[in-house]
């Protein structure tokens, strides 16, 4: 069977890795928020779409290439996320989880409808890159390659920040034990603001990258947030690195299922993968059991 030829398998693998890198960037932010404040941000994919529509506007009004838009959009969404935490999330962070779920769900509905008012329900796209990179017998779509690689670089950047820097370690400390972090002199409220800002910026960057590979409309967030939920459970709730693994795993498996069976099945893959991982490792790939 032709599908089993090594070139085709490799092609599927590369496509899957590139798509997975985008998932990883998006889900990484969601998991960071969950890790630090035990809040599931339902509006996370809408922050992604702010990035996507931002790239769309900057491209159509100023002719700006999305790779440049990234430099404008990411800092803006960081600031938006930072104050969003202060104004809204900080008020619900120590409440029962239902409160924050409802609050962020409300934000998601508001953002979707504002998006519909401004941009209508037509699909938009930012067609800046066309064609493919040819590497031997392999053809990798240029927009996918760029989006995947940029996402990967950003995720690794965030990982290094969390792993190496004083503030990044403080984020991890708060996520492990907020009270003990506090008595170390860490201002937990400030860390939460930083975390939400970073997570929103990651989602926004994922949105800019999304804009060059997919068409999108204000309601596109739903598909992505559902995949993100699956990814963070697969990777381990609250574990940033787990979300990166989970995102890449989902991208690769979707790609193979799309190639061997049908792209329609690829939609169901996230949940099949979820169930499989939970059967083998109930805490997720990188998860730690919590009391």
């Amino acid at each position: 069977m032709e599908l089993l030829e090594p070139e085709i398998l490799l092609q599927m693998l590369i496509n899957g890795l590139l798509a997975g890198a985008l998932y990883a960037l998006l889900a990484g932010g969601l998991n960071l928020i969950f890790g630090v404040m035990r809040v599931i941000n339902i509006a996370h994919a809408e922050f992604m779409l702010i990035g996507a529509f931002g790239a769309y506007v900057l491209f159509n009004v100023f002719g700006l290439h999305p790779l440049f838009s990234l430099l404008i959009i990411v800092p803006i969404i960081f600031v938006v996320g930072y104050y969003f935490q202060r104004v809204l999330i900080e008020r619900v962070v120590d409440r029962p989880m239902l409160t924050s779920l409802l609050a962020t769900y409300g934000v998601s509905i508001i953002l979707i409808n504002v998006g519909l008012l401004i941009f209508s329900s037509d699909f938009k796209s930012v067609p800046v890159l066309q064609g493919s990179f040819l590497i031997g017998d392999l053809a990798v779509s240029k927009p996918r390659a760029v989006a995947g690689l940029v996402s990967l670089v950003l995720s690794v950047g965030v990982y290094l920040f969390l792993d190496r820097t004083r503030l990044g370690k403080a984020v991890r400390a708060v996520s492990e034990h907020a009270q003990v972090a506090q008595i170390c002199g860490i201002d937990v409220r400030q860390i939460r603001m930083l975390t939400f800002g970073m997570a929103a910026a990651m989602a926004g960057a994922a949105g800019v990258m999304l804009s060059i590979i997919y068409s999108f409309w204000p309601g596109s967030g739903v598909d992505f947030i559902q995949k993100c939920f699956a990814i963070i459970i697969i990777g381990g709730m609250g574990n940033f690195v787990g979300a990166l693994y989970g995102g890449i795993l989902l991208g690769v498996v979707e790609s193979f299922v799309g190639g061997f069976i049908s792209t329609q099945w690829a939609e169901a893959v996230a949940y099949l993968l979820l169930v499989t991982v939970l059967l083998v490792r109930p805490t997720g790939l990188k998860g730690v059991a919590r009391a």
């Binding site: 004083r166 370690k169 034990h177 003990v180 008595i183 170390c184 002199g185 201002d187 937990v188």
Partner: protein, 239 residues
């Protein structure tokens, strides 16, 4: 007599509708080891949590080095020179030993100063140095307690507050921890601790306070409390 380093005056604390402290007072002078003993529910841990800002005091004053610090936010306390070793030797389990220590000096912005402080703790606790790159969750209970104490030394504090430092440790590590506490005293630090293991704590302490249901009950030198018949009956299991 020296001015007290820490004074707690007439402190009242409630958790919701339940009042736990009904006007507790105590003082700690520079260079002393002071322990608070009492049965479960006496409010021992609550006193120190209120001192370091982890629970709000409804009434009463806390003074450190002559300055009022009542209800200061917990993250501002280490900068004053007070650090805390939490009950249950809580470390950041997924972070390395070295990173755990570094977090103890979070307030030092200069990375060289943080590294120097980490090195100073490694000098005192060679075992932690051996395991510096391992996740703290992989350490034994005693090693985790060493790490929690080491973390509390990173800011070079004048007062170290310990909540049940020997709880759940093997006898070997209890000895080791108590030895370390004496070392800290010899270095000129002041210690305030809460202990379930009252006899052991009083032997080590200059002075002790015995609490009962959120009230001061006895206050004296460690030795006198140990010799007191009532204290022995009520707090030391009648031994």
């Amino acid at each position: 007599m020296k001015e007290p380093l820490l004074t707690v005056h007439d402190m009242e604390v409630s958790y919701g509708a339940v009042q736990v402290l009904f006007g507790v007072s105590l003082e700690v002078r520079a260079g002393e080891i002071v322990c608070i003993i009492g049965p479960n529910g006496a409010g021992k841990s609550t006193v120190i949590k209120a001192v370091i800002g982890l629970v709000p005091a409804q009434k009463g004053q806390v003074e450190f080095d002559g300055q009022p610090i009542t209800n200061s936010p917990a993250h501002e306390i280490p900068a004053l020179g007070i650090t805390y070793v939490p009950q249950g030797r809580i470390v950041f389990a997924q972070m390395t030993v070295a990173d755990n220590l570094e977090m103890g000096a979070f307030l030092k912005r200069d990375s060289h100063k943080r590294r120097e402080a980490v090195q100073a703790v490694f000098d005192q606790f060679p075992r932690l140095y051996e395991r510096r790159n391992q996740p703290a969750g992989k350490l034994s209970g005693g090693e985790q307690q060493m790490l929690a104490i080491g973390r509390a030394l990173m800011m070079n504090p004048r007062l170290v507050i310990l909540d049940e430092p020997s709880l759940g440790l093997s006898p070997k590590y209890v000895d080791l921890i108590y030895e370390k506490l004496l070392d800290l005293k010899r270095q000129g630090r002041t210690l305030l601790m809460v202990e379930q293991n009252a006899a052991r704590a009083l032997e080590l302490s200059d002075r002790g306070y015995a609490l009962e249901l959120g009230h001061n009950r006895f206050a004296d030198t460690g030795a006198k409390l140990l010799a007191n018949e009532d204290v022995r009956r009520m707090y030391l299991g009648g031994a």
